[in-house]
């Protein structure tokens, strides 16, 4: 009896401690742990994918590294947590992760009713479809998919987009949803579904993993807006600002021509005040720029992130763009001055 009581009391004490732990600021927690806890996908080429040694690569992964570099000065201090589409928001809400960087679409309901905040748009995407042209030689457009069975991952925006699109075009369809992307792809390859649908970047990534990539064609239509970006908890504005401005720093750096290779030189020699402000170089009279201090982190926050991870363009090219197997064109993810949508407010 005594033992049981003791266990109960210990349990009660533990629950009180746990309840208190989550309330401290995320920045303090990150400093205390010594690493950033980053929620990523279970494996999506170009965005977040582990190799055999559990080294993660991808755009979403690089963004977490940039945060770690900015906050802790070391981009390797990241703990990656692979999450399914369904688990991701709960993991963030419960404090299991500090930032969700998992090709997550910014939608109004997610932004307003989940207690979460989107910190920016890392990748402007849209939903597309892929079909096997040897099995379905007559399909050249999504409009030819009337009556088709479509496979996709459950718990994503794709299901709703498909429903909207097929309904507005008065087409019949059947939807088969799987918990994991790999199962959906396997069912697609078995011919259980006639088409597989997800964000277009994901289609290109999955296509490379298929048995005969050349037989599978991505249909031309994009049926939705899918702005993908990092997410943090609502109510911790300090952390939200850091994540938001790390993203802006990456975009601004590309605009200013700062790369991981020339960042040392730029910091030492550049006379451009914008560059100096971004990289936290002290002005001639020795006063600090003060932007890092303002966020409660080191003055060299952007310098560290850029030095260790590179600017937005480098991250894009390396993971999904011209230097990667995916070879996705910059398109809407080009800088604003080159006709794209990537635009960051000034560091001032």
């Amino acid at each position: 009896m005594k033992n049981k009581l003791l266990t109960l009391m210990l349990g009660a004490a533990a629950s009180l401690v746990l309840a208190g732990a989550a309330s401290a600021g995320t920045l303090d927690d990150v400093r205390q742990h010594g690493f950033v806890q980053c929620g990523v996908s279970q494996g999506l080429m170009g965005f977040s994918v582990p190799d055999a040694q559990n080294n993660w690569t991808g755009m979403d992964v690089d963004f977490c590294r940039a945060i770690a570099a900015a906050v802790l000065g070391d981009g390797t201090k990241v703990k990656f947590t692979p999450l399914t589409a369904k688990e991701r928001f709960t993991a963030l809400q419960s404090g299991e992760i500090d930032v969700l960087s998992r090709n997550t679409t910014w939608t109004m309901s997610r932004d307003t009713s989940l207690g979460l905040k989107f910190a920016g748009i890392m990748y402007y995407d849209g939903q597309g479809f892929i079909v096997n042209k040897t099995k379905h030689p007559n399909v050249a457009s999504v409009k030819d998919l009337g009556g088709a069975t479509v496979c996709t991952q459950s718990g994503t925006t794709t299901e709703l987009n498909i429903a909207d699109y097929f309904k507005s075009h008065k087409m019949d369809y059947k939807l088969l949803t799987f918990e994991k992307n790999d199962e959906a792809i396997a069912a697609y390859q078995d011919g259980r579904c006639d088409s597989y649908s997800t964000d277009q970047s994901g289609l290109y990534a999955q296509r490379l993993k298929m048995q005969s990539p050349d037989d599978n064609v991505v249909l031309p239509e994009i049926i939705s807006k899918e702005p993908l970006g990092p997410v943090v908890r609502q109510g911790d504005d300090a952390w939200f600002n850091i994540v938001k401005w790390v993203y802006f720093a990456l975009v601004n750096a590309e605009e200013l021509g700062i790369t991981s290779k020339n960042v040392d030189e730029m910091k030492a020699t550049s006379t451009d005040p914008e560059v100096k402000r971004l990289l936290g170089a002290t002005s001639d009279d020795g006063t600090a720029a003060g932007f890092g201090i303002g966020m409660g982190i080191d003055e060299s926050w952007a310098f560290d992130a850029l030095k260790q991870v590179g600017n937005y363009g480098e991250i894009f090219d390396r993971n999904v763009g011209k230097d990667s197997p995916l070879k996705i064109a910059r398109g809407k993810n080009e800088l604003w001055m080159n006709g794209g949508l990537q635009y960051a407010p000034p560091v001032r």
């Binding site: 309901s109 207690g115 496979c151 299901e159 939807l175 088969l176 918990e179 078995d190």
Partner: protein
């Protein structure tokens, strides 16, 4: 003097009274437990409010917007989340109910084979039990899904027998469409059930009087088919069929049993049958050998001895473990989510993903599975009570 002594004893014995102490400690534990639960609920509610997370069950009445690949009730993306969850619930019920029947029959056969004096039969059963019992169910589910999908042809090369076709889109067949007056089928069925009950009673009385056994079971089956058809014919056959039409991507119309259902049913019933077989074996071995010998001495054939003497006694031992296997099967059906069969967990997961109402959806899951399990075990307890050894 003696009065004072007893009073003193009573006073001292208040705390030493085992009953009082027992109640006090139980009350204390209950209080702490209640406090913990209260703390948990209040804490969760506060934390959710602090983090601006919307809670409550209002989302159930909003438009779902997503389609489901297999549904027993009419459903489209225009319906609300509550209906989407109902679709999942009925799909869970279907696969559990059919799975329980198949697993019981298969388990009984394997269990009897295991006890057979035929070396081959008993060792096949042994191999089956050991193989199936010791491989994780999720793995078996994936294997069955691949085994079901891979050999099936594409929809355009579907195997067709009349209007019934089999392809990797599933087993498609014409769906009956019931017009006005079709409820007569039900009337016919109930009349048939009533007639069968009367028939079997009469048959038993005849057997007691004449010693001859009438084929009442066979007749009952015949009746339950014939009566509904007769009643339908009487009101002018208000049933038509919706034939599936072949399109570019398989079939539209008719009804389709999706491959996910077949794979899940196979995996669940084959897996559970192995456990049921062991329960059956244990039950039969618990019946004393003399019972079988006595039945044989009365001149009963081995099959009849098993059915009339041994199995009814074995049931008492079999039913309790059988109940927990039924519960396991129902709960294991939630693995459907892995292969895209839209059961309650799968559709609930989609709802969760769309709305982000994690706590509410998980609560619904818990309540539904709990009630299903309690209902099943309640029924099995009732069944068990009926088959208990009655002391005379």
């Amino acid at each position: 003097m003696s009065l004072e002594l007893t009073a003193g004893l009573q006073k001292r014995s208040f705390w030493n009274n085992g009953r009082v102490r027992g109640y006090a400690l139980q009350a204390l534990v209950l209080l702490i437990l209640g406090g913990l639960v209260y703390d948990l609920i209040i804490n969760t509610a506060n934390n959710m409010a602090n983090r601006h997370i919307v809670s409550g069950f209002d989302f159930l009445w909003r438009k779902a917007g997503f389609e489901v690949s297999f549904s027993l009730i009419p459903y489209s993306g225009e319906d609300n989340y509550a209906r989407a969850l109902m679709v999942g619930f009925f799909n869970t019920l279907l696969v559990s109910a059919v799975g329980i029947v198949v697993a019981t029959v298969l388990g009984l056969v394997i269990g009897l084979m295991r006890l057979s004096r035929n070396w081959l039969a008993s060792h096949i059963a042994l191999g089956y039990i050991e193989l199936v019992r010791n491989v994780p169910l999720l793995l078996q589910l994936f294997i069955w899904y691949r085994l079901v999908l891979t050999p099936l042809p594409q929809a355009k090369d579907a195997i067709a027998i009349g209007s019934v076709t089999l392809s990797n889109k599933g087993l498609t067949m014409p769906a009956p469409v019931f017009g006005d007056g079709a409820w007569m089928v039900l009337v016919g069925f109930f009349v048939a059930v009533g007639a069968s009950v009367l028939l079997s009673r009469w048959g038993r009385r005849q057997q007691e009087v004449t010693g001859r056994k009438l084929p009442t079971g066979m007749l009952s089956v015949l009746l339950s088919v014939a009566f509904p058809l007769l009643f339908l014919a009487a009101v002018g056959w208000p049933v038509s069929f919706d034939y599936p039409v072949k399109g570019n991507f398989g079939f539209s119309g008719g009804m389709t049993l999706v491959p996910e259902f077949m794979a899940l049913l196979l995996a669940l019933s084959i897996y559970t049958a192995a456990f049921i077989a062991e329960a059956v074996r244990a039950g039969i071995m618990a019946v004393s050998k003399g019972q079988g010998e006595a039945a044989a001495a009365l001149g009963l054939k081995p099959g009849l001895a098993m059915r009339l003497v041994v199995l009814p006694q074995a049931l008492r031992v079999i039913i309790p473990p059988l109940t927990s296997q039924y519960l396991n099967l129902t709960k294991n059906s939630s693995l459907a989510v892995a292969i895209g069969y839209p059961d309650l967990v799968s559709t609930g997961g989609t709802v969760l993903g769309q709305t982000g109402q994690a706590i509410e959806v998980v609560l619904i899951w818990m309540v539904v599975y709990l009630s299903l399990s309690l209902l099943t075990s309640g029924f099995m307890n009732w069944f068990n009570a009926r088959h208990r050894l009655v002391g005379r």
